[in-house]
Amino acid sequence: MLQIFTHLANWLTYDLLGLQADTRLGIALHFFVEDVSKIFALLIVMIYVIALLRASLNVERVRDFLAGKHRGMGYFLGSVFGAVTPFCSCSSIPVFLGFTSAGIPVGITMAFLLTSPLINEVAVLLLLSLLGWKFTLLYITVGMAVGILGGRFLDAIRAERWLQSFAAKALESAHQDAYKSATGYTAATERLSYLDRHRFARNETLEIFLRVWKWVILGVGLGACLHGFVPDGWIETHLGAGQWWSVPAAVLLGIPLYSNATGVIPVMESLIVNGLPVGTTMAFCMSTVAASFPEFILLKQVMQWRLLVTVFFMLLVAFTIIGWTLNALSPYL
């Protein structure tokens, strides 16, 4: 079915523009047209369908479910829900406070918030169609591990000491009087009609697409240039697994860049196809997605500098270790 995009690229590049299939420009443009049209089509269809299905899952339900769960299971569940619950990153703060004032430990809340940008169903489906199931499974495992272990670590160092005082108070008072779900507003839990679902899905599709389309163009454009103009094997020789510094360098490079998982996957594809090691690619992409300055400035409202800096370094170290480990393991993958 996806062949149609190859035909489209053939027609546009070779027939309409008259480029030759063995020239650099021809190769690059063909790759660009095929990938952009394919990804755009996949994105629009998939975001819509998935949004239809998950329209009734919301953060309020997740909170009620996580409140009072056993800790060990809590990190895992926090991470799972972080992956599947739709919510805009601009809601991180209210979500953090909502969880906290329900008495959910900081580590579990952070497991939710750390996993959330790394994994979402659109990203997973895109990975499946571009890079295959093995890589997808690896990505999900690593993303969830970051959330779960990161959460555990934050609880182990008693991160709640370093919350802003009003947030700490909310957590404490929630522990004193058993959690009541009657704290103000509870989201409408009535069944959604088909029209509601359609409305939600349409808005989601529009919203996500408008946010990521430029990243897709950029990512695929980068890929196309690598594809057409960088000699085969150049990346492998110069940025391969043998160069240990390439992983931390990739992580640092990813910080000022900010994208969401959906936008970064086309970049990932082009890097891997062109021979960048799996670990380095993964470290770069996760750092781009999960460690961003805008997000951290928001979190400042509920965390003291100490905790903020701790979380930041925790992520940098985690991504670097992931990169090295996967590079070391890649011959066996």
Binding site: N58, V59, E60, R63, F87, C88, C90, S91, I93, P94, V95, L97, G98, S101, F166, A167, A170, T183, G184, Y185, T186, A187, R199, F200, N203, L298, Q301, V302
Partner: protein
């Protein structure tokens, strides 16, 4: 006069929500006081977890999405 508050961190969706409310109120020729609430602890006090959320006369009427003009009309006209 109704007091309408838009709760949110000041993201694009929150601005859109506030603009839309202003437009609908003007169309209906209703005077409202529109307040953008960005303070995290105040938002928490309303028990809201997804923004943008809309509060009309201290009652939360929506949360997590940009409301439709029809919704806003219903909130403003008693």
């Amino acid at each position: 006069m109704k007091t309408v508050k838009v709760l949110g961190s000041g993201c694009r969706k929150c601005k859109k929500t506030a603009d839309l409310i202003r437009v609908v109120a003007a169309q209906l020729d209703i005077d409202i006081e529109l307040i953008k609430e960005t303070d995290a602890s105040t938002i928490m006090a309303y028990g809201v977890m997804s923004t943008p959320a809309v509060v009309v006369d201290e009652k939360v009427v929506s949360s997590g999405y940009i409301p439709q003009p029809g919704d806003i009309r219903r909130w403003l006209v008693p």
